[in-house]
Symmetry: C3
């Protein structure tokens, strides 16, 4: 099998084999990251644009470094002080970037579907770096990569995602990736943030955290975006922490080899106890490292790379 | 003839032969942009600084990409949060950048003459990326390049510039370039924005749009900066659109091969109907592509490049 | 002797021999800056992060250019709109950057000791680009480099630092460097900004400017940060200028070959008369040029460079 997609818009439309090809390619690039000279010339002379209409330092930097390590030229375009502020449409902004011979446009946008919209009319490749509450495909790929690397498999594992599911593109992309690869997914959190309708995506939904984590192989904690949701969705941060936060007492009731994951940035003392974030079962920083490899893989593949066999050993 | 200017400060002081040399060099660089690896090593080890005291995302990115494709190192210096905010003079800021071994300083500034001021004391090359209402030479060069490419000549063509002429550096630079190359220029817009005094620059001035566009080979629409001018210069945006906006009815009265140009970002539904912006006679996006080639040419020439014959085929 | 420090956290812990090794290495890199192609491949494939939690355009650009000239990949991370704003701890931010395989993290922070804190848990190299009122080691190194280049020696020279000493990391780092290398240091300024306790660092403290500069070989003027200190620390800017500003009358009472230094950005007409800033005895812009060479040296050494002998001639 060879890769033949020009865009990476979501996980929903990928096959299990395509997901595995990204992970296999990422594995080859992770080895590059361990070399003294962490660069390959795969995208030399190509132009990658980070079109971040919604701000994000950490995802932007991860993509920027991934592009640099592929020897691409990278331009950062943020919404502040840009032509978007002058009333230009997103379509015109994107077509202008393409007119500058951009080869790949990485877009983060607060509107669900923005990357799909761009892909309909651009010749450049489009990568979704998070669109509204819809999808964040590279996050799901790096999470899946991390699970596979640690556990040696995905199929048959039990993954519990804990926190704000309703507004989370990370949750949606993870659900797609994990169920396609044969994992069992449980969602847990306050009933306002974890509605029963998610069962239609093939998940178990529960509001009882002890039940959710008891036999989990992976516990993926989502960030409580307390800036936004606290007031309407749950009574207080303290109550969230007491009912759903991962603390030592709860951790003791989990499987001894259950992994702790979190897409970051973490709120120490809110959704996760500080010492649990730093314990040996936490793979939070390895997720960050793997994100770089996964993003190199995605940039490489959408630019015409055929698969891991092409990456010089 | 060989190029021997260290700076590009304006169009006014260029000869027709110099303008043509930039365009010829840009043509060679446009071919580079179509290659799989869009880079040449012409400015390797050189430092280019984007000193944007007035914010501009699109022009800054165009220069940044142009410099990257010449393999230069690029630094972006914006006025916000910089030493300029701490009360440093523009002269001191520029001399500090030069002390960092900057080879080329690209300046955008709200004060007319700021680039000329820098050129008086800097050893580095200075490129004007727009100074107040004075000049925006690379915009005029890319507009001229686009016309030449599409029409095969400049001399004898009739170019109508429509909109806010009074405050427009784009208009002034275009007038200089077009008249030097032998085109006939008509200016049109509300009388508050298109005063008769522009006739002294060798243009025809009219406030009747139908008359202005009737026999034009090129219609160059300027952006109505409604954030700034609406209140004092014309009664309302709606009135501007109805009196001067390019719509379907007006387009039908123009020559069938008249080109539609716009420096962007466009206000769809204000100075231009949305469907006209996207029609086959619109070359708005090609202007953007050509801007990159023109800026590569300018960077190359002020850095000591002799002309198009030096660019490897 | 070979360099064997992984971090550059302060001047206080360096030996005189280590300081001299940085200066010797910087001299070799200054020669590189005079070449047509101002680059060396020493840090190719390495990732340098500018983690500027406190904003600074000029120091950030100097480090960015230094890293580019060593062919490193550089990422700028500023506190605004970043995960730090979302409540992430500095430790987590730094560990995330390290997880992205950052090799060198350059940190500026308003808290004294922030770089030392990072160095305790990071495997990446840490360079202090200014921490609170504590130290700004690369500024002291570039100041020392400039003195050595101009005077041919440091030992035995008399250096007067004039201005706001109390809040100045530049002053503290300079005092350490100069006294270690055998210079005699005098501090002068208003008694609120130059307390007697600095005598414990081996300096002479005086509040009489004429006495302070009379036999100085070097007069290093610090910026009056009038945004911050004016109100509480001295009656008015005008009074400061009249009592401590370096003007023509005062300059005439100094040694004819005394050098005028300033870390910038300068306040013309406040701590320094405009014409003195531009006179032949002022080396303010050479300090900027030397800063680039010193920062290349520091990046090179903390990354495992052994010393100046390694830099290709």
């Amino acid at each position: 099998m060879t890769w033949n997609r020009k865009h990476l818009l979501d996980i929903e439309s990928l096959s299990a084999a395509e997901i595995m090809m990204v992970l296999d390619t990422a594995r080859a690039f992770k080895a590059v990251g361990a070399r003294a000279i962490k660069k390959v010339p795969a995208l030399r002379g190509k132009t990658v644009v980070n079109l971040f209409v919604e701000p994000s330092t950490r995802t932007r930097i991860s993509f920027e470094l991934a592009a640099q390590r592929l020897t691409a030229d990278v331009i950062n375009f943020s919404a502040e002080a840009s032509s978007l502020k002058k009333g230009e449409t997103l379509k015109d902004t994107a077509r202008n970037l393409e007119a500058l011979n951009a080869d790949i446009i990485i877009i983060r946008h607060s509107a669900s579907g923005a990357p799909h919209f761009l892909a309909r009319f651009l010749n450049a490749s489009v990568i979704n770096a998070g669109d509204g509450a819809h999808e964040h495909p590279t996050q799901a790929l790096l999470d899946t990569f991390t699970i596979l690397e640690k556990k040696g498999k995905i199929a048959g594992l039990h993954v519990t995602i804990l926190g704000d599911i309703l507004y989370s593109r990370v949750a949606r992309s993870n659900i797609w990736a994990l169920t396609k690869l044969g994992a069992k997914v449980t969602l847990c959190g306050p009933s306002t943030l974890v509605p029963k309708i998610f069962e239609q995506m093939g998940c178990r939904v529960t509001h009882n955290v002890d039940e959710a984590i008891a036999d989990a192989d992976i516990i993926n904690l989502l960030r409580i975006q307390h800036e936004r949701q606290r007031k309407s969705m749950f009574p207080s941060l303290g109550e969230y922490t007491s009912l759903f936060g991962l603390n030592k007492a709860r951790l003791e009731k989990t499987k001894p080899d259950a992994l702790i994951m979190h897409p970051g940035p973490i709120n120490r003392g809110v959704e996760i106890d500080s010492e649990i974030a730093d314990c040996s079962r936490s793979v939070i920083l390895e997720q960050v490292t793997n994100g770089l490899a996964v993003r190199m893989a995605v940039l490489f593949l959408v630019n015409g790379g055929k698969g891991p066999q092409e990456i010089a050993a």
